[in-house]
Structure formats: C-alpha cells, structure tokens
Symmetry: none
Subunit: 215 residues, 4 copies
DNA sequence: ATATAAACGAGACGGTACGTCGGGTCTTTTT
DNA sequence: AAAAAGACCCGACGTACCGTCTCGTTTATAT
C-alpha cells in the first residue's frame, strides 16, 4: 500500500485534479511481481530492467518513469513494511525477545523475495555512493529502530548493564544477521540463534560468572 | 609474491618443462596496481576490465588469460596474505586480543585497497553462485582460522565458558566487522571497538553479575 | 529510396500496425554514406563495422539491427537499382547494344561506390557459403536478366545464330566485365570495349568469313 | 619443388655461407598441407594462420618467417606450377586447343586446392593494394602467357582474323573461367565449354555467316 | 670436438574488431 | 496523461586472430 513511497511521483496516487489516465495499479503490480520472481529465480546477476520489462509485459519507459534506478526497484521488492509488521511482545526476557525477532526476520528473508532483495541492495550500494548515503541515513535507521526500542525496554526493566551502548549492541546483532544472510546460512535453526543470543547476552567470558569477587 | 596463487595457471611458476615465454611479472604487477587504483578511485561500479586494461597499458586478452573473472582480480587485489601476516600476541586476555586483531584488520582495510576489494567481492558474489560456493568453502574458512585459534587459546587458558560455541563467536565478530565495513564505519575508533568487544566478552545482561546461583 | 529493400525488416516501412518509433531515415542514410565513403577511401580491408559506426556517429547496435552482416551493408551500398535504371535502347544492332550496356555499367562502377562494393561483395562471398548461395540464386539472376532480354530481342530480330546458348553469352560478357573490374581495368576506353564486343559478336575465326559451306 | 620461390628468403637454398640449421623441409610441407586442407575443409573465412599453425604442429613464428602474409601462403598453395605443366598440343584447331586448355585448368581447380586458393587470392587482393599491384604485374601475365602463345600459334597458322586483339581474347577467356569459378560452376561439362568456345570462335552473329556480301 | 648460428616450438603480449547485451533516453502511437 | 513499442547511442562484455616478441631447445655446419 505504501510501497510507492520510494518511487518518483508518489503524490499522484493521493490527490489528483488533472485529466489523463491515472497510474495503472495492475501494471505496477505486475512489474514488481516480475521483478521479485526474476530476482528469486535467476539471482542478481540476471536481474536486468530489460528482462523485468519483458516478463511484466511492460515497457522499459514505464519502469523508468516510476523507479529511477535498480535500487528503487529493489527497495520496493524488499517491501520493508512486512518486516515492520513484526510486533515484539514483552516477554520480560531480552534473550527471548531477540530470539523471537531474529527468527521472524530470517523467516521473512527465507520465505519472501526480501532476502534476495536485501542482499542485492547491499551489493548494488557498493557501486553507488549517492544511493549509499541515502540508504545509510534514511533506510537503515528505520530498520534498527525496532530492535533499539526492544533493547531500551529491557534496559528500562533493569535487565541490562547500565553502561551498555545500545547502538553497539544493534551493530552486533545486525552484523550477525547480515553475515549469515550474505554467507547463505539463514536456515531456521533455533539452536544456532539461541546459542548466538545466549553468548551475547551472557557474555563469553567465564569470569563473568564470578563477578566482583566479593569474599 | 605469492599473489599469483589464485590465478589460472599457477603451476608454471613452480615447475616448467615446456618452452615458451614466461609470464611477464611487470605486466601482471601493473595490471594489479591499475586495478587497485581504479577500485579505490572510482569504486566498484566503474571497475571494468576495459578500464583496467586501459590504465595498465595492457591488453584485455592478457587480463583474461590470467584472471578468468572479475572475482579473481578482486581476490588478487585483496591480497589476503597481508592480513595473514597479522600475528596475535598472547596477551593473556581475550578482550585485548580481539581488540588488537580488530584494529589491525580495520587498519589494513582502511589503508590498502583491501577494504574496497573486500566489499566489492561481497557484492560480486551475490550474482555468481559458482564463485560464491568456492569462496564460502575455500576463502572464508581460511580467514576465520586465526580468530578461531585465538579463541581456542583463550579457552585453553580457561578464560571462556566451557560451553561456548567458538564458531558462533567467530560469526558474531566477523558479522560486526563486515557490518561496519559495508556501512562505511571502520574509523580507528578505539572506543567503539573496545565497547563492542567488552559487550561481547562480558555480556550485556546485568544478571550475569549475579550468576551461578550457588545453591 | 528503396535501398532498404535488402535490410532485415522491410515491411514496417510499408504497413504498420504496432506503436513505437519508426526507423530514423537520417540515421540509416548517414550509415550508408559513411560505409560507402569508408569503402572508397580505405578499401575493403579497412571496412569494419566499428569504423562505419564511428564515422556515421551511429551505434554498432543500430547497424546490426538493420544489416545483419557485412554483406547486407555492401548490398545496400551497391544500390543495384541504379544499375537497373539503365535502359538499353533498341539500336537494331546487338553490337551497339552491348557496347552501350557495358559502358553504362562501367561508368557506374567507376563513378559511384558500386564498383568497390561489388568487388568487396565477391571477396566477402568467398568466405560465407550461406550468403553465397543466396546471392547466386537471388541477386545474380536479376542482374543477368537485362542482358538476357537484350540478347533475346536481337535473336528475335534474327540477328543471332539460332543455335546460340544465350546464357553462355551472358556468362562470357559478365565474365569479361568482372575480370576487368577485379583486375582494376575499367577505364572508359571505347576502343577496348568495342574490340571486345566485336570479337565476340563476329567471332575470332577467319573461317567464319567463308561459312555455310553449302553442301 | 620450386614452391618456395615466392617465400621470403629464397637464396639460402641456393648458396649458404653461414652455419646454422637449414630450413626443415618437413615442417614447410606440413604447413602447406595443413593450409591446403584447412582451406578445402573450412573455406576462406576460417583460414587463419593460427589454425594453420595448430594443425601443422608448427609455431606461428615459423609460418611468418617464411610466408610474410596470407597471400604468400595462398600463392604456395595455389602451386601454379602444376598449371604450368599443361602442354597444349598443336591440334591445328584453335577451338580444340582452347577446349583442351579450359578442361585441363578446370580439372586442376576441381581436384586440387588450387581452385579454392585462387578464389581466396582474388578475395584477399581486394583488401591489399600493394599485393594487388604485385600480383597484377607479376603473377597474372605469367598465367596469360600460355594462352597467348596458343592464340599466336593459331594466328600464325592463319586461323584467326588478322585484326584480332589477342590480349582482348585472353581477357574474354580468362573472364569466363573466373566467372564460372567465382560463381561455383566449374563442373566437367564438355558441352558448356564447347558451346562457350564455339560462340567465341565462330561469333554469335548470324550475319557472319554471310560475310562481305559479295553478291 | 666444439663453438656458433639458424630453425624451430611454445606461448606471452598489445592490439583491433567482432557480435551481443544491457543501460538509459527519446519519439511515436494508442488508449 | 499514461502506457506500450521500439529506435537509438553508449559502452562493456568476453572471444578470436593478428603480427611481434622472447625464451630455450635442437641441429647442422665451420672451425
């Protein structure tokens, strides 16, 4: 619904006074569907605007009219809103909450074109400084927010060490997920995720089990 | 020196029975130099074989003769051996050791073409399944080894919880570094690295300060 | 004007059902002009599609879109229609008619790019069996027709021996012209042509002056 | 035997002052054989020095050492000497003699690589003015000589009209043979050759049968 | 017998053109 | 006005030969 947010002329969908055809919803759907399918089937190397147009039965011009670059198409395929719909319940345990979030995201990555789209976006960005900057300052922070909020909630519950840099923790958790995605390891392995979260939450050091040596 | 390791016909440098010209070292140097410079200056989007050839004053044929794909060129630009030269001293503290390693790698990424090359490799892999598989099974494990060894050493010192999955810890630490590299944040900020390592080693949970509930 | 006759998609100029841009006449003109000029100036050895594109300010794709091979370009440069416009008057004398035709063709060969194009076509054909076959069965007969018609007319006038194989005579006359063209001797030398035609028409044998040996 | 006549350093075979290996006859044989076979099998389009070297098991350098261009190779494949061996008997009839010569040449063209080589030479020449000039002034006249001699002999016998331009007759006869060769029609069809020769010798005009109208 | 010099193979190398493909932009026509 | 069709320029792709070159081995004189 809000998909068109990133496209070039978003307002027209909202208010329109002028004459002429309105944007054809069916067309933009079939373009996005074709793009998603293509990405899934043939991978990023064969993801060409030309092929998307061919499959969608649309013209290249139409694609370029609404998505000014590959990046914009990928963003729409990514459909981050799905991800946004994840609601993290208050389990009263940060470990449980992170595990829940991680499994939810990986599930989406696995089962929708999001994963492929996300990987492709990262690839695409390495060759486009302008897009990169926009992405880093607009797109990324929005994705981090939910996790940040959850961590803050746990901190408010008194569950976390008070000197923890929450942003750093987000870096760590995001880094882990990206790494697994980029190296093709995002199976639904509860053990793996639990162990990772446990390591991070509890720390890896043995000393932490005997803290402050009171004696 | 051993850069040619990843190129197409490595044996000839070692044993040679046949006649015929040997590979021109100067040429391959100027190709790699041109490639590195180009990557640095113009980024991955403008990294074309054609341009590399132009800059190196070499012919495309020569490049293709020795590097069968962009990936192979990137691997040689990466020059992973530099990274291999890092020796992690035994500080008797895993925190110190990880901090040391992280700073050393980031320094290389910042100050040589390695960083750009590495990012570009990740991008390239997203569109080349064959290269991807080779990379995941050959290239990656070798990079992880040093960290794994250091963690094992710490475990042997009794510094780590005995149930820790070392591979998972490597995932976490690699993930963090990749994330920072891919989002353009690998300044030499000791605070950032220290805080990250501290979080991971000590854990983020407050509860960890009252552990082991001694019955 | 009808030059495009031999190109790949000729019908579109005639009837059009679909939408979309029409072929740009200016572009195709400048390609043909550039091709003709290049052939004239640098000869067939330097006649490359790349150079034609460069000179015409056109892209290679555009050339390949409309002329699928060098041969097709040459055919259009040849512009055989010019040759077709030659009208052989009925002089009442086969000798005069052949002389007329020969001079007219040689004149075109000398003064337009046709000559070079024709020689180049013959060269090109020696390495392309498919083109060769097409050329032999489609292109050649059409060229021979006019001469054949003229000979038939003379035969009908009773000017020729009734047992003459007209096709053979065409072979002889075409052969002569090709030979002169390929060996670079097509000056406007009326003597040469007249003598050749005289030899052929009257025969070279002296005995023919005492023919018919009655009984 | 005298094949090497056209190669680059012919004198060495005659006089030798220096030390060093002599030219390896076996090598040059296998090169010429490979070249001839290649020309026969794949045609002129696939006739590349590289492929000749591959087949002959020779190095490109060796080929270039002795044959400075494709043209020189073709000339040696042509092996005009074979053609030179044709001895035209004195039949006392120019018609019979021309028929004899034509059949002999066509036979050679059909049954040896000469035909292909000759066609290829003509093609090659259209893109090489220097070679062309050399060929026209050295190679061609030698080929024409035998026919010229035969015609002269007939003239001396009083068989020909005294005002005939013999060179023109050679042009006509050569033109015919070239035309048939270049259009792929050199079967051993006695009828065709006889009819052609008859047309030329007797002339095509009926009038010639009632010459000089002496009343 | 031993230099010595050429012939030779292998193959690296810088070039140039090939024919194809995708990227974007633009024009024309239809809806 | 939106969309489809598609012509067009641009530039990179990866391949194939070109002709030149170096390198090291082999072979036949000439000393």
């Amino acid at each position: 619904m809000k998909r068109e947010m990133v496209t070039k002329r978003p307002k027209q969908a909202i208010a329109r006074k002028s004459t002429g055809c309105r944007r054809n919803a069916q067309t933009s759907r079939s373009i996005l569907d074709a793009a998603a399918a293509l990405l899934q089937e043939k991978g990023y190397a064969n993801f060409t605007i030309e092929e998307v147009a061919r499959r969608a039965g649309a013209s290249k011009s139409t694609i370029y009219r609404w998505w000014s670059s590959k990046m914009h198409l990928l963003l729409d395929i990514y459909g981050g809103d799905v991800e946004k719909m994840i609601e993290i319940p208050d389990f009263g345990s940060i470990e449980a909450e992170i595990i829940f979030l991680n499994r939810a995201i990986w599930k989406i990555w696995r089962e929708t074109p999001s994963g492929q789209a996300f990987k492709s976006m990262i690839a695409e960005l390495q060759g486009d400084p302008a897009a990169f900057e926009h992405w880093r300052s607009r797109f990324l922070p929005e994705r981090r927010r939910k996790l940040l909020f959850t961590l803050q909630r746990a901190a408010d519950r008194g569950e976390l060490r008070p000197d923890i840099q929450l942003e750093t923790v987000v870096d760590i958790l995001f880094g882990y997920s990206w790494y697994r995605l980029l190296t093709g390891q995002i199976d639904d392995d509860v053990e793996v995720i639990s162990s990772m979260v446990h390591e991070i939450v509890q720390g890896i050091s043995l000393k932490s089990a005997f803290p402050a040596e009171p004696v």
